[in-house]
């Protein structure tokens, strides 16, 4: 494994150098503001340019890596998380960011989310939740509220939606936050907190699909007459039951960090196994190790 490298001394980069293709999103799409906050955060943090890694599944939101001029991968619908897990485990020197939509995260990739959460894989996962399937043009998503009229439920959605916060708490994620793309300062604050967390950090960002679900999040947008309520100041982020209680509030609920605990990451636990195994084997070379094993087969 490549060890965490010291950042080489070099001139600071600006947001301009991080901009790649012009996003193909529809005008007004909430994902734009998440992208520009990502740029802003990188610019502020000055992570070595080559160490930024943006990984995504499939969906409008998952197009994200193309718009960032940094290393990235566009994988399969729902499978971005295990892909990013592979990168994270073998390359502790990289900052692994994972981007995707609600369908990607909670429907086709739902099982992976639970397992990355319980294993506490070090990465930051930004779920851009628009309550609809954007890329495939307006089908019901697992977070579509009851009654939402889509092409697959023209009479209004009849299936109970997933509650992302409850799901993530139950899954065992160690950092769980909720934000809203129309409030960039809040998104930035959540991004930074997530990035600084040593473990599986997830932010659900409500990100409006202006094309297929306009106004979905107005109720929490002060500029549209809504109320943006922060998680109460006295909320104990290490209290799982308190986090559930926040998650149970009716839409639009509260925004901020719901849950944050410290638990060893799989990255650290695997590194421990390696250290122990190597020292037990007296740091033998591969050829020596193999010879010893095969002498037993002889």
């Amino acid at each position: 494994m490549i060890a965490e490298a010291n950042a080489p001394v070099r001139p600071k980069y600006t947001k301009k150098e991080l901009v790649a293709d012009h996003p193909t999103w529809c005008p007004g799409c909430g994902d734009f503001s998440i992208l520009s906050i990502y740029f802003k955060m990188m610019e502020k943090r000055q992570i070595p340019h080559e160490s930024i890694t943006s990984i995504a599944g499939i969906g409008c939101s998952s197009r994200f890596p193309y718009f960032v001029n940094a290393h990235g991968a566009h994988f399969l619908h729902g499978r971005g998380v295990p892909f990013a897990t592979g990168v994270s485990l073998i390359r502790p020197d990289l900052h692994v960011f994972m981007f995707g939509g609600d369908g990607d995260a909670f429907s086709i990739g739902g099982n992976h989310l639970n397992h990355a959460a319980r294993k506490n894989i070090k990465m930051t996962y930004v779920i851009m939740d628009n309550f609809v399937y954007g890329l495939t043009k307006k089908q019901t998503s697992p977070t579509s509220p009851l009654g939402f009229k889509s092409k697959t439920d023209p009479w209004g959605a009849i299936d109970q939606p997933i509650n992302p916060m409850k799901q993530l708490i139950a899954g065992g994620a160690t950092f769980i936050a909720r934000s809203h793309s129309h409030l960039p300062n809040h998104v930035m604050e959540m991004f930074e907190a997530a990035m600084d967390h040593d473990g599986f950090s997830v932010i659900e960002v409500l990100s409006e699909c202006t094309e297929f679900y306009p106004g979905a999040f107005d109720a929490a947008n002060p500029r549209k007459g809504g109320v943006f309520t922060l998680v109460p100041k006295d909320h104990d982020v290490t209290d799982e039951v308190a986090a559930y209680k926040l998650a149970m509030e009716s839409f639009p609920g509260t925004f901020g960090v719901y849950y944050k605990v410290s638990r060893p990451t799989k990255n650290a636990l695997e590194a421990n196994l390696i250290r122990e195994a190597k020292s037990k084997a007296n740091n033998a070379s591969p050829a020596e190790l193999l010879q010893k094993t095969f002498d037993r087969f002889a």
């Binding site: 490549i2 940094a70 390359r91 002889a298």
Partner: protein, 609 residues
């Protein structure tokens, strides 16, 4: 059993022949009992002993799909010459239970010996076909090591019995037993040795023939190892430098991931047990993307799940090694039986035009070297590479030459030196091979690459222009044509011209070669060709086909709607040659030499049309 013609001149081993000590070159023993009796460990010790002396071994093992007991067998062929197959018929059948006797008595050859546990088995008293020897195995074991050992220790008793019967090297066996049980408590070791000695002490020569192996015909001095096919694959991956992998348990693949999980940390690597096969291949793609060529593997059902991501790796030109230890299908099928019915999914599985590398090892030793080659080809051609093994190879134990690790061990860790300017991951070069810059690589011109499953231009940007898709589809195929031209030429076993060419792939090499030898000894004109490179095919095949009147593709899979098995279909499509026909079977068992010859003679009755 091959009796040595220069050996002692006693009557042929018939039912009424006098008891004697006979010289033999080769013997096939089948142990039939339940899985909890430790049948496998008797076979394992004999195989290992064979490997440590001048005997060659090949084993054949079936295990029940349900682990908590149930019928289980282990067949071992010990010989002083080259052992090619596990043997058609059994010389000695050891039956622990009535059901073992009922199910396996037909595998015993005429004149063979049935050793049965007279505490549990009632053979037919009137038969004259074989010699039945009853020994109270259960009660004698209990007597030797105490009452609590009712179900345990019988295997060791039988091992002792066999050691006596075949004049095996007892000190060596004892050392092996002690080594194997090292670390267990004293009582266990005492029971093991107690049961073994009780078996050895039983004067089997009074009730059955005993045997002695004639010395081997000058064998190489190379040190030998004894492993099964799955061990060979796992250690092959470690030798090749694989340091990251991911998988989900499924029989018969699991033991590969168990070995890698335990071994990799010593090598500074990680093997992840994932939530499913979709995650396993996704993680392997991620590991390879991160610069460490990664391995995943599974058996049939898991390959079905991995198919979408295999297409991603082909499109993104990401190297990844995929092991398929195939079993009977479709669906859950026959989890613990052999079948070669995954060739199509390995060669074609995934939507779209998705060419990839597919290799098929032919023996346990070949499992080791094929895995190393798959790693190297995947990296060199930036493409997924399959190793298609099967249940028979996975559980087969063979003796092979100790590898030269100092020479073979590779370091394939990523280098991450800065790239560019003007670096393009998917540049349309003459060889068509993508050259990735893993994350962490500084791009000198400040332009960073994205790897993707969308059709893309040379820089990796999504591009759906018609001419671009034509160019890139061609590029992904062209690199494998470049590889095909560099592969070693196909080699015939036997004369390069003749009447019949038997073509095989994978675990059937041994029995096919033995079939060729038997047919040639009987004056027939038969040769064989074993294909290790399934995709792309190696050069020289057509010229070889030209030298024969008939080409029969021997496969453990169905002859399909058009009378052609999976490889036969591929070869027909490739060479459009009507003389290519199939010899197929689907009973979930390895090919017997006799079955191959019968299939050949049957096919020869109908002319090529």
């Amino acid at each position: 059993m091959i009796e040595n013609p220069t050996g002692s001149s006693v009557a042929p081993n018939g039912v009424n022949a006098a008891l004697a000590k006979k010289n033999i070159q080769d013997v096939v023993i089948r142990f039939a009992g339940n899985s909890q009796d430790g049948i496998q460990s008797i076979g394992g010790f004999l195989a290992r002993l064979g490997g440590r002396t001048e005997k060659d071994v090949m084993t054949y093992m079936t295990i029940p799909a349900t682990i908590s007991g149930g019928p289980s067998i282990f067949q071992v062929r010990l010989g002083t010459g080259d052992v090619l197959s596990a043997g058609d018929d059994v010389d000695i059948l050891v039956a622990f239970y009535q059901h073992s006797f009922n199910d396996h008595i037909n595998s015993l050859r005429d004149g063979g010996v049935l050793l049965y546990d007279s505490d549990n088995v009632q053979p037919d008293p009137n038969q004259k076909r074989y010699r039945a020897v009853g020994i109270p195995i259960t009660s004698m074991t209990v007597e030797a090591i105490g009452g609590t050992a009712k179900d345990k220790g019988k295997n060791m008793f039988v091992l002792g019995l066999v050691a006596r019967m075949f004049d095996l090297d007892v000190p060596k066996l004892e050392t092996m037993l002690q080594g194997y049980y090292k670390g267990k408590n004293e009582d266990v070791i005492r029971s093991v040795l107690g049961a073994f000695h009780a078996g050895y002490g039983y004067d089997v020569g009074k009730v059955a023939d005993t045997f002695q192996f004639t010395p081997a015909i000058a064998k190489s001095e190379t040190k030998k190892v004894v492993t099964d096919g799955n061990q060979a694959i796992a250690y092959g991956a470690l030798v090749a430098g694989v340091r990251f992998g991911a998988g989900y348990p499924i029989t018969p693949w699991s033991s590969i991931m168990e070995i890698l999980r335990v071994e990799l940390p010593k090598y500074g690597g990680i093997f992840v047990q994932t939530e499913d096969e979709l995650a396993a291949i996704a993680m392997a793609c991620g590991g390879s993307y991160a610069g460490y060529l990664s391995l995943t593997g599974t058996s049939g059902p898991g390959i079905s799940l991995k198919s979408e991501a295999i297409g991603w790796a082909i499109m993104a030109e990401m190297p990844v090694v995929i092991i398929d230890v195939s079993r009977g299908g479709p669906s859950t099928g026959l989890p613990t039986n052999v079948e070669q019915s995954d060739l199509n999914i390995c060669v074609y599985g995934s939507h779209g035009d998705a060419p990839r590398i597919v290799l098929a090892p032919a023996s346990v030793e070949d499992c080791f070297y094929t895995t190393i080659e798959a790693v190297n080809l995947a990296r060199e051609y930036s493409c997924p590479a399959f190793v298609v093994s099967d249940q028979a190879l996975a559980t087969r134990v063979e003796t092979w030459d100790m590898p030269d690790f100092a020479k073979l061990c590779q370091n394939i860790d990523p280098k991450l030196e800065p790239r560019g300017p003007n670096y393009k991951p998917y540049e349309n070069t003459a060889d068509g091979i993508a050259r990735h810059a893993p994350p962490g690589t500084r791009m000198l011109d400040g332009k960073y690459p994205i790897v993707t499953g969308l059709e893309h231009d040379e820089s990796g940007h999504p591009a759906s222009r018609p001419a671009n898709h034509v160019m890139m589809t061609t590029k992904r195929r062209r690199k494998l044509q470049v590889l095909a031209a560099k592969l070693p030429k196909a080699q015939v076993f036997g004369p390069p011209e003749g009447n019949v060419l038997l073509v095989g792939w994978g675990s059937t090499e041994g029995p096919i070669r033995e079939a060729v030898e038997r047919a040639r000894a009987a004056g027939e004109s038969v040769s064989s060709l074993h294909l290790r490179y399934i995709s792309p095919l190696q050069p020289g095949i057509e010229e070889i086909f030209d030298g024969f009147n008939h080409v029969f593709v021997v496969e453990i899979n169905d002859e399909g709607l058009y009378g052609l098995g999976q490889l036969a279909m591929l070869l027909r499509a490739r060479f459009a040659d009507k003389k290519i026909r199939g010899i197929n079977k689907t009973d979930g068992l390895p090919f017997k030499v006799r079955e191959i010859l019968a299939g050949m003679n049957e096919k020869l009755k109908t002319p090529v049309q």
